[in-house]
């Protein structure tokens, strides 16, 4: 408490009058956050401005994963040292972003989805843990490991999904359950792995299970009661998809009645995938949420002629009633498992010499889309890595121009790039407004894909494809199977790239100290110069990194960087005791691309927290925070 008081006084004394007036709102939030852990009731629009905390997986509604903190910079990151660590007690893939609310850190684990509250006043001492009692059978319907991508925070509650399709709200202070709502059924193959997003008084969250013939949806729940307010399906009639009079898509092919039915063979839409299993962004100005839908189900496209709307697409919706404003399908009639669930960054970029608000989207199908967030028009779509499945995106129609030889269906297509996990998968990129670069965790994989017959049996996989992946450099290449890339979306070229032995399956975070952090499957946690791509520091963690690093200010005024290690997820299946070399198409064809992973990492979930040695620097707290606005 003494520290807090000293800090408060210093802050008040140090802040110049002008910024005091301008920044009083932010200061209030900041100070509240430092008061010994009482969780804040301030709105998320304010909380996310505070670089001292990390209140949602993507850091902010624009999903930039940019922190204005500057204590750790390119000149001192070499001395970064372990401050404390914490074992999660779980073995499977750890994909979550820790949250920092006030002086407490919240960490969710893979199944059985334990929520830990760690006291930042006491070097991460355990405050409480919440075990939600998850149905063990849910493990049998999780396609790509039993992961969880993190929690959301609002109104004194930590809110997260469980693998068996519940959303749980827990009192952030006491660790008591506030509400719990069941949203889906494992008997239909559904699971939930996504981090929810809170917008105004609603929790938004989608389902997973595109490999099990699940029908995708996004639901909005009341933050206070957990009641479902609206459900927007990704397939089916307009009344289910929440397409109404306000739906004004840019491209004409999306105008028409019940396209979520008519672009499928009869009834196939009911098991047609399009699960909303990853990221949601929000633009408070437009008052629209943006999120993507997963692959069309069944994988084998020969079994579902048509565009298969609204799979592999993006929706812009009104968060209050869920009504769609526009939609755009990145990959019509998905033939390669190109789920369109990537993060949507809301940015201002100079396009054709004019600054405008855009939606930037590093898409799984290998194209970097810049879109008009008001109507879904594609302004540009350039490849950001090796692509063979399409020649380009026709900006007039919005449709990809396909390479016939790479089409799948009931045939073998070879050397299809990118492979099914895409140029990137769910691991989110980070954007720095200082360098104007997007930092992207990437795969460097191609594949052979053979469509085969498939039987739909509810609660079992529904795939119908035999896939084998390999390095984009060629079969047997084990030196380059992933990349970490800085991309300039305006000039549409790569600024720098780090080649990695394994696909990069961790998130990224970039700071105003011009340092970008990410982790690797061979368990290195790296700090990179955001401008040059030079690796300035790296630390070997206990297990491969599939989590999302975050950074925050501790109650002691020091900047910390936190990341979960614990190999797993789709990319990490080969480290979970399977035999790709004896059975090459297992794990949807990913393990055979990385059969050597067990030589580099074993399982085990552990949180690592790093900081610079010594006490907090004597500088004005105001300087700590470069505005994200």
């Amino acid at each position: 408490m003494a520290t807090t008081r000293t800090r408060t006084l210093r802050l008040i004394a140090a802040v110049p009058l002008i910024t005091l007036l301008a920044g009083c709102q932010q200061d209030r939030v900041r100070l509240e956050a430092r008061k010994g852990g009482a969780p804040s009731n301030a709105p998320l629009t304010e909380l996310q401005q505070d670089d001292g905390q990390w209140v949602m997986a993507a850091k902010n509604y624009a999903s930039t994963r940019f922190s204005g903190l500057t204590q750790i910079d390119t000149s001192n990151v070499q001395s970064l040292a372990l401050a404390w660590s914490f074992s999660t007690g779980q073995l499977r893939g750890h994909e979550a972003a820790p949250l920092v609310i006030g002086s407490t850190m919240y960490v969710t684990t893979p199944f059985p989805n334990v929520l830990y509250a760690l006291d930042l006043e006491k070097n991460g001492a355990l405050k409480w843990k919440f075990e939600p009692e998850v149905d063990r059978a849910a493990q049998g319907v999780a396609c790509c490991d039993v992961v969880n991508r993190g929690a959301a925070y609002a109104d004194g509650k930590v809110i997260f999904s469980t693998l068996d399709n519940h959303v749980v709200a827990v009192d952030a202070e006491s660790g008591e359950q506030v509400w719990r709502t069941k949203l889906g059924s494992i008997h239909r193959g559904e699971t939930m792995t996504a981090a929810p997003l809170v917008v105004k008084d609603k929790v938004l969250v989608g389902n997973s299970g595109g490999e099990l013939g699940v029908r995708g949806w996004l639901k909005a729940l009341s933050v206070s009661t957990g009641e479902v307010v609206w459900t927007a399906y990704s397939t089916g009639p307009d009344s289910d998809v929440l397409i109404g009079p306000n739906f004004k898509p840019f491209y004409p092919q999306y105008q028409g009645k019940d396209l979520g039915v008519s672009t499928w063979p009869p009834d196939q839409w009911q098991i047609g995938g399009g699960t909303a299993w990853a990221w949601i962004s929000y633009d408070p100005e437009l008052d629209l949420i943006f999120y993507g839908t997963g692959n069309a189900g069944v994988w084998n496209p020969a079994l579902r002629p048509g565009d298969n709307l609204w799979s592999a697409a993006i929706f812009a919706r009104d968060p209050d009633d869920g009504q769609a404003r526009w939609a755009y399908q990145f990959t019509p009639h998905d033939e390669h498992d190109y789920d369109a669930v990537m993060e949507n960054l809301i940015l201002e970029l100079p396009i054709n010499g004019q600054n405008r608000k855009v939606l930037l989207r590093p898409e799984r199908n290998g194209f970097m889309y810049i879109m008009d967030p008001t109507n879904g028009q594609v302004l540009s779509a350039e490849p950001y890595g090796p692509i063979t499945w399409a020649e380009r995106i026709d900006l007039k129609t919005g449709r990809p121009v396909l390479v016939q030889d790479k089409r799948t269906g009931n045939r073998l297509a070879t050397n299809v790039c990118p492979a099914s996990p895409g140029m990137k998968d769910w691991p989110p990129s980070a954007w720095s407004p200082r360098t104007r670069l997007l930092y992207i965790p990437m795969n460097h994989l191609c594949m052979d894909y053979r469509g085969v017959e498939a039987n739909y049996i509810a609660g079992t996989p529904y795939v119908g494809a035999e896939v084998e992946m390999y390095s984009a450099e060629g079969r047997g290449n084990t030196e380059w199977r992933g990349s970490f890339t800085a991309w300039d979306p305006v000039s549409q070229r790569q600024a720098w790239q780090i080649k990695e032995k394994f696909p990069v399956w961790s998130g990224a975070v970039v700071t105003a100290g011009d340092v970008v952090f990410y982790g690797t499957l061979d368990r290195w946690f790296k700090a990179v110069n955001a401008r040059t791509g030079d690796v300035l520091w790296q630390y070997q963690l206990g297990s491969g990194v599939t989590g999302q690093p975050v950074t925050y200010l501790g109650p002691d005024g020091k900047q910390y960087v936190a990341v979960l290690s614990g190999v797993g997820g789709w990319a990490g299946i080969s480290a979970l005791g399977v035999y790709p070399e004896q059975d090459p198409t297992i794990g949807l064809g990913f393990p055979i691309a990385v059969p050597d992973l067990p030589d580099y990492t074993a399982q085990g979930g552990m949180l690592y927290v790093f900081t610079l040695p010594g006490p907090a620097p004597q500088q004005q707290p105001q300087q700590q925070r470069v505005s994200v606005r």
């Binding site: 075990e131 849910a138 049998g140 396609c143 039987n455 090459p584 198409t585 297992i586």
Partner: protein, 153 residues
């Protein structure tokens, strides 16, 4: 005689369960639920399990492979038993027992960590053929192991 010995074994196991100390956490309980070959009272090693009626029958193995695909077993356990969403079937590690009866039971009754129950969905006869195919995958469990490679320099 075999059947009698088998049911005796079940009785022994059932009796022992009542004497087990309480388990401290659900995680450990999960591990303990696995079938074990440890058999207090000695003699387990000499017991013969009920045989698969189709064991070693090549036609049944071929049919079993077909059923293994039709019922989507391959999607979780791998066409050749390499594993994936579900555990591998080609090595010597069996969570719930690798003898034909245990495999048959796993198929028909399901297992708590995600193996669905197929009772009423897969006829016994087909299930035994699937067991025959699964047995054919693990003929040489000792030969199956992950080769060691050069370590990270």
């Amino acid at each position: 005689m075999t059947r009698f010995a088998h049911s005796m074994l079940l009785l022994v196991i059932a009796a022992c369960n009542t004497n087990e100390p309480p388990v401290p956490s659900s995680q450990q309980a999960t591990a303990l639920l696995g079938k074990t070959y440890i058999s207090p009272g000695a003699g387990a090693d000499t017991l013969n399990f009920t045989r698969n009626p189709y064991e070693g029958d090549p036609a049944a193995v071929t049919q079993g492979k077909q059923f293994y695909t039709w019922y989507n077993c391959h999607s979780c356990h791998g066409t050749l038993g390499g594993g994936g969403m579900g555990p591998p079937l080609l090595d010597a590690q069996w969570i719930y027992g690798g003898d034909p009866v245990s495999i048959f039971e796993s198929i028909l009754e399901g297992r708590p960590n995600g193996m669905p129950t197929w009772r009423g969905r897969i006829p016994d006869d087909q299930a035994w053929k699937i067991v025959a195919y699964v047995q054919s995958l693990q003929k040489n469990p000792a030969a199956i192991s992950q080769p060691s490679r050069v370590q990270n320099p």
